[in-house]
């Protein structure tokens, strides 16, 4: 038995599992950072983690608060300038997987992190795209991790910050994109993957004790399920231990830096 775990822990752990030891991963700000470092501290010790601040092959012992904490640079194989990072490494096609999050997502994996409401007179001004628009187009594939709610999983995005599959199959190719785009969305309730024929994201795996009804209620579009929905394996004791230790170390370090 694994004991109890929170939906958030399940999300981070299922996101970490998606990464391979051989991946070269561009780590987006926020939730992806915890997942990527958990992967490195568990099943993928040799994974190359890259942050947009220019740090390549970083191995932080605590999670950075920003994408440019000193810990990232001090533990990196090398640190390059930001223009070099975006030109040679990202645009150069060296990254196998980009790991993103966002405020809102639609059924084709397009992301909004820019505004809610009209751009000129926004209801909510969000931070903006940062590295994400080009991470979404230049990485071999992208994973997305985002907690499910009707406000986050929306029928239609008011603003596309990062391009997923547009309005469906063939839209990436029509823009000349040769990368796969989003191939997996990891949430606190389930895992979604794009249906091959339509590129619409459908549920492929439900987390332990999560019902189809609960997932439907947390999604703003009429969510569909794969014909063979699996149950996500629960967190192992080792996964939970490493994640909790990482988060405890992180909290301690950040509160000390006042």
């Amino acid at each position: 038995m694994t004991g109890t775990f929170t939906p958030n822990e399940m999300m981070t752990i299922v996101a970490a599992r998606a990464l391979k030891n051989s991946d070269v991963c561009f780590v987006g700000i926020g939730a992806p950072s915890a997942a990527c470092n958990l992967a490195r501290l568990t099943h993928a010790p040799d994974i190359t983690l890259i942050y947009e601040s220019g740090t390549i092959g970083t191995r932080p012992t605590v999670l950075p608060l920003s994408i440019g904490d000193g810990e990232l640079c001090a533990t990196a194989l090398t640190t390059v300038s930001v223009p070099e990072m975006f030109r040679y490494w990202l645009q150069g096609g060296r990254i196998t997987v980009g790991f993103l999050s966002g405020a809102q997502i639609d059924r084709y994996g397009n992301l909004n992190t820019t505004v809610v409401g009209p751009y000129e007179k926004p209801k909510v001004r969000l931070p903006g795209g940062g590295g994400a628009p080009e991470i979404a187009s230049s990485c071999g594939e992208t994973f997305i991790t985002i907690a499910m709610s009707p406000r986050a999983f929306v029928e239609r995005l008011g603003f596309i910050t990062s391009f997923g599959h547009g309005r469906g199959r063939g839209d990436r190719e029509a823009l000349g994109l040769k990368t796969k785009g989003p191939t997996r969305i990891m949430t606190d309730l389930c895992v979604l993957e794009p249906e091959p024929d339509t590129k619409e994201f459908v549920v492929v795996s439900l987390h332990p004790d999560v019902t189809q009804e609960a997932v439907r209620a947390a999604c703003g579009w009429p969510l569909r399920f794969s014909p063979q929905v699996k149950e996500t394996p629960p967190p192992t004791p080792e996964e939970l231990r490493v994640l909790r230790e990482l988060q405890a170390r992180t909290k301690k370090a950040h509160s000390a830096d006042a």
């Binding site: 640190t79 931070p127 795209g129 080009e134 509160s255």
Partner: protein
């Protein structure tokens, strides 16, 4: 050729009302002390350029120094919103703020184009996204050899770039180490450049033969301001004050609380207030 002077003189001589100003430093080496000096000297109508506006531009915007912001990610990293930036955009307080919004890739390329004396930057980007619909400066060009459509943005050419660095030698050569961001490009793209440093030294002590060094003849003024990047950090000197970044969320959420904080910590103080943050930790 650069000159060593006080921070007050460096800003007075190089930053004018209405200037296009880039204060760079990608999380690391953010020139806080210099930004505060710009606020104290009450510069107005600035166009502020920064990839990540961070707390320093939240402060400048909240104090009414800027008419326009050119940026690519406007949040408090790992914490949430920049409340003063949001208040300016959503409510026009204390004055309206025009936005020119890009992606990081676009701005990094645009700084590099500026340093390279090119009129614009070309790159693969902005595919399928909505920013080009709201920013008329995002265009496309066709590759003359293959016909491929590529994104283009104007080069960034600031009137003045302001950066913070670890140290300068007596001749005024400046060393940057760690996450070096876009500072070299931003300095070389600008008409004038102001640098604050942790310390002045006899020997730069460059960590290798390819260290990032800005020769004295590429900058306009250098002021020695230990701790001048706080609450950002200077690798090898002091760590990022993540606790302050978290605390800023509360300080900046309320207009009066923000103004009180600025009065007590910026308007009523000088660059020497940063000294206590410098050299605090050996391991950074």
């Amino acid at each position: 050729m650069t000159e060593f002077c006080s921070l007050e003189e460096a800003i007075a001589r190089n930053v004018r009302d209405g200037d296009t100003v880039a204060m760079e430093g990608f999380t690391h080496l953010i020139p806080y002390a210099a930004g505060h000096e710009v606020i104290r000297q009450q510069r107005k109508h600035l166009t502020l350029i920064r990839m990540t506006p961070d707390l320093i531009y939240d402060q400048l915007i909240g104090m009414g120094a800027a008419d326009r912001l050119v940026f690519s990610w406007g949040g408090n990293p790992g914490v949430g919103s920049l409340h003063r930036l949001r208040d300016a955009v959503e409510n026009g307080w204390p004055q309206p703020l025009a936005l020119e919004e890009h992606s990081h890739a676009a701005m990094a390329n645009a700084y590099e184009a500026g340093a390279a004396n090119l009129p614009f930057a070309v790159f693969r980007g902005y595919k399928g996204v909505d920013l080009p619909k709201v920013n008329p400066k995002i265009r496309t060009v066709e590759c003359p050899f293959t016909g491929e459509k590529l994104a283009a943005v104007p080069a960034i050419r600031p009137d003045v770039t302001i950066i913070h660095a670890q140290r300068a030698d007596r001749a005024g050569n400046v060393l940057l180490d760690g996450i070096v961001g876009v500072q070299k490009q931003a300095v070389l793209a600008a008409k004038r450049a102001v640098v604050t440093v942790e310390e002045q030294v006899e020997d730069l002590g460059a960590p290798g033969l390819n260290a990032v060094i800005l020769p004295a003849w590429t900058t306009s003024a250098i002021a020695v301001v230990p701790g001048g990047a706080y609450p950002s950090y200077a690798q090898g000197y002091y760590r990022r004050a993540n606790g302050f970044y978290i605390a800023w969320d509360d300080i900046s959420r309320d207009r009066t609380k923000f103004q009180d904080w600025m009065r007590d910590n910026v308007l009523g103080k000088g660059p020497e207030a940063f000294r206590s943050y410098g050299r605090r930790a050996v391991e950074a």
